[in-house]
């Protein structure tokens, strides 16, 4: 492998700069994606938190098709998980209910047990979605109150919380490990 991993961050709206910051800290090269052609040659892609309604409207001309065709690993947080789930792009086999914890006054942060790790992960949940149904083959990596909040489905990683809003980079590191494995296997880019 030569050079840092090139990871796209969908930059339509939301906290894409925070994701880019974490990627930079981990030595990857973040690329803001606003048009379909910007997906070319990327090793992986992050769909950030934001307002899923607004983002889904703004990707209608072209970008949505580009996301469907993208073959590398994809990481979605909050709105990103909603967009990747069954009811939108249908790329991840989970049924997600929006704003399922309630309005902003019910937004919260809590410690999460991350699979395979002794130190808990601080989860920041903002008007967060809930995962109602999980398809077979979807792996649960973290739960909150017995409900899945971090999941992996093949080359997709999705979280209902915002690891990009804390200084803990472990979830992004896992994603970059997935990207590296894919690049080694010769997949990744289009």
């Amino acid at each position: 492998m030569t050079g840092p991993l090139r990871i796209g961050v969908l930059a339509i709206q939301g906290d894409f700069r925070e994701h880019a910051g974490v990627l930079r800290r981990l030595g990857a090269d973040p690329v803001e994606v606003r048009k379909p052609e910007q997906l070319d040659g990327l090793d992986g892609l992050i769909v950030p938190g934001g307002e899923s309604t607004a983002i889904s409207l703004l990707i209608r001309d072209g970008l949505e098709e580009g996301l469907r065709r993208f073959r590398g690993p994809v990481f979605g947080t909050c709105a990103g998980m909603i967009l990747l789930g069954r009811d939108h792009l249908g790329l991840v086999d989970v049924a997600v209910r929006r704003n399922a914890y309630g309005r902003q006054v019910a937004s919260f942060e809590a410690d999460l047990d991350l699979e395979g790790e002794a130190v808990p992960l601080r989860g920041v949940f903002i008007r967060a979605p809930r995962v109602d149904v999980i398809g077979p083959g979807v792996e649960v990596l973290a739960e909150h109150d017995g409900e899945p909040v971090l999941l992996r489905d093949g080359r997709f990683l999705v979280a209902s919380f915002h690891p990009e809003l804390t200084d803990d980079t472990r979830v992004h590191e896992r994603f970059l490990d997935m990207v590296r494995a894919e690049v080694m296997a010769g997949g990744g880019t289009l």
Partner: protein, 294 residues
């Protein structure tokens, strides 16, 4: 255990709104149009600023029935305005579970010296500012998001530009000061030293910073974004124009693609008439909203 209303949770919602457009709405129907046009949130209010300006009188928090109706209509966040210093309006808005409270100079101030103590609330607050000192005073009171004020209800972008240049310019200048000069600078800014030092070191405000007041066209929105805003509030500019849906959609696209002149040219076409403008420079001092706030 789950913790509610932490600064990270309050500011976190603003982070999710970045790069987006927050639109003033006065009815459920307008809220639906805003959501379909791609707004990231709506601001529920009784009258848009240009009507408040034209009709005069005391402008207060919106009718709770109206706020509830708008909450039932859309799934995006619903914000609402409280008068400056009117902490009971804020308590009511929190009980209604609005997603953000705007302690706003657009409404008639309820206190001539004190703003709301925003630390006491679980719901987050956004506050207006015209300069860095004012922004930092609001942050000291617990605001989780800042917007530059502009001059609401005019359709004239000039004051918004002045306020952004003032805030962002002051931040840049702070970065050039020596450590020992920051004490005196904090005094000049009438802001807490710790916040002044943080901003000097980081080169930005510790919260998301939007722009408001006078945005009427896609070009206005992109101008604010290029000057450094994280997103925009549009008040009268949408529902006082001839085709609110088309204009709202165009302003949303311009905010996302703010650096792409080809997209800006495309979305600026065929929008019909913008809101009727009012030159901010022609307003008498007592007609200005931006001077409210202390």
């Amino acid at each position: 255990m789950a913790e509610l209303g932490t600064m990270r949770v309050k500011g976190g919602l603003a982070e999710m709104l970045k790069g987006g457009v927050i639109m003033d709405v006065t009815t459920a129907e307008q809220a639906r149009i805003a959501e379909e046009a791609g707004a990231v949130a709506v601001m529920a209010l009784e009258r848009v600023p240009s009507d408040i300006r034209a009709q005069g009188g005391v402008a207060r928090m919106a009718d709770p029935d109206k706020i509830a109706e708008i909450q039932e209509t859309v799934t995006i966040p619903v914000m609402a305005k409280a008068r400056i210093g009117h902490f009971v309006e804020a308590q009511i808005l929190e009980a209604l579970e609005v997603d953000y409270i705007d302690e706003s100079e657009v409404l008639t101030p309820a206190d001539t010296a004190h703003h709301i103590d925003k630390w006491r609330f679980t719901v987050p607050f956004v506050c207006g500012c015209t300069n860095l000192g004012e922004a930092l005073r609001r942050l000291a009171e617990g605001a989780a998001m800042i917007r530059t004020k502009g001059e609401a209800g005019t359709g004239d972008i000039v004051n918004a530009v002045t306020h952004m240049r003032s805030v962002f310019g002051s931040i840049r200048r702070l970065g050039g000061l020596a450590q020992e000069e920051l004490y005196s600078e904090a005094k000049q800014l009438q802001a807490p030293y710790e916040l002044v030092r943080w901003v000097a070191e980081q080169g930005r405000l510790p919260v998301v910073t939007f722009t408001a007041g006078g945005i009427a066209t896609p070009a206005d929105a992109a101008l604010c974004m290029q000057l450094g805003a994280d997103g925009v509030f549009v008040g009268s500019g949408i529902f006082k124009s001839s085709d609110p849906f088309l204009r709202a959609k165009a302003i949303v696209e311009a905010t996302t693609h703010f650096q792409d002149a080809e997209v800006l040219a495309r979305v600026s076409r065929g929008l019909g008439d913008p809101m009727p403008g009012l030159s901010a420079a022609a307003l008498a001092p007592e007609e200005l909203l931006e001077t409210r706030g202390w």
